[in-house]
């Protein structure tokens, strides 16, 4: 997700479109990305640490974005 202090022009565009479709009461929209990563074998702490590294080096730009990693079996 873009960090809270970073302007999110795409989110603003979506927020602007919602009232035109009759959806009211929306005070803010932020747009981010979601990556679904499939892995071999069990998700151990070491594997999770590797995914965190992927998130930090390539999937996100830590200068402007925050990320969270969650596991679904």
């Amino acid at each position: 997700m873009p960090k809270p202090e970073i302007l999110d022009p795409q989110g603003k565009a979506v927020q602007g479109a919602l009232p035109r479709l009759g959806f009211t009461g929306v005070t803010d929209v932020r747009q981010g990305k979601r990556f679904e990563i499939e892995l071999e074998g069990a998700v151990t702490d070491a594997v999770l640490a590797e995914v965190e590294k992927m998130a930090e080096t390539l999937l996100s730009n830590p200068v402007i974005e925050n990320y969270t990693v969650s596991v679904e079996q």
């Binding site: 873009p2 960090k3 202090e5 970073i6 302007l7 022009p9 795409q10 603003k12 565009a13 390539l58 999937l59 730009n61 200068v63 402007i64």
Partner: protein, 222 residues
């Protein structure tokens, strides 16, 4: 001097940049993104375009191209590196330059002849300009909004790392009207507008961009 121009898949302005290098009195050397080889060049230009289709984030995938390992290594050792537009985005993603570039605040692609002020003529790429000189060159981008956190912004302003600033109008929402920045050492420069399109009277808005391609020579013999 021999100046390498890297071509990534999706680069658009590599040939223009090579031509500008030659008009500036230097030898242009074509470099390929897939080769971990700088062919012994004295400086590198990362040109504009849409490398890797701007997938993920602009410059995010290019940063990990084999040639970039060598560019980062050389830049950290002091080699002059200039990133124009998409090249600027790649340099930010590589963390060779502070900050990042996000979608224009007005969400539209912008293409105009843009007035700039050279704020720092002590870099490897801007020494041909007068401090405070105003130049007009082409700006064309969809994701040219320069952003950085407050602490970084204060630091680069305080250290004189802002290389060029937009005048008359802020075309993309860049903080502090920043059009270009340099690293602490002054050898790596990123610029959102395109000096390589302003080096000949026949095309473009004039000759105001030429200084970026003659500065290296002037610096070498200064």
């Amino acid at each position: 001097m021999r100046i390498g121009v890297v071509t990534f898949p999706g680069s658009l302005d590599d040939v223009d940049a090579q031509r500008a290098v030659r008009i500036g009195g230097n030898e242009a050397v074509a470099l390929w993104h897939g080769d971990a080889d700088l062919k012994g060049v004295d400086a590198v230009i990362l040109p504009g375009g849409f490398s890797y289709g701007d997938y993920l984030r602009c410059g995010a995938i290019s940063r990990f191209a084999p040639v970039m390992d060598k560019v980062v290594e050389a830049a950290n050792a002091g080699m002059p590196v200039l990133g124009i537009c998409n090249g600027f985005q790649i340099l930010c993603e590589s963390h060779l330059l502070p900050g990042a570039l996000i979608r224009n605040d007005h969400r539209k692609f912008v293409c105009r002849d843009q007035l700039l002020r050279i704020e720092n003529n002590r870099t490897a790429w801007t020494s041909a300009y007068e401090q405070g000189q105003e130049i007009r060159i082409v700006l064309k981008n969809g994701e040219g909004g320069f952003v950085a956190d407050a602490e970084t912004l204060a630091r680069i302003e305080g250290e004189g790392q802002v290389v060029a600033r937009y005048l008359e109008v802020n075309p993309n929402g860049s903080l502090d009207d920043i059009a270009g920045v340099t690293n602490a050492r002054g050898n790596v420069v990123g610029l959102m507008p395109h000096p390589e399109h302003a080096v000949e009277e026949l095309t473009g808005s004039g000759l105001d961009g030429l200084g970026f391609f003659t500065s290296l020579v002037e610096g070498a013999f200064a």
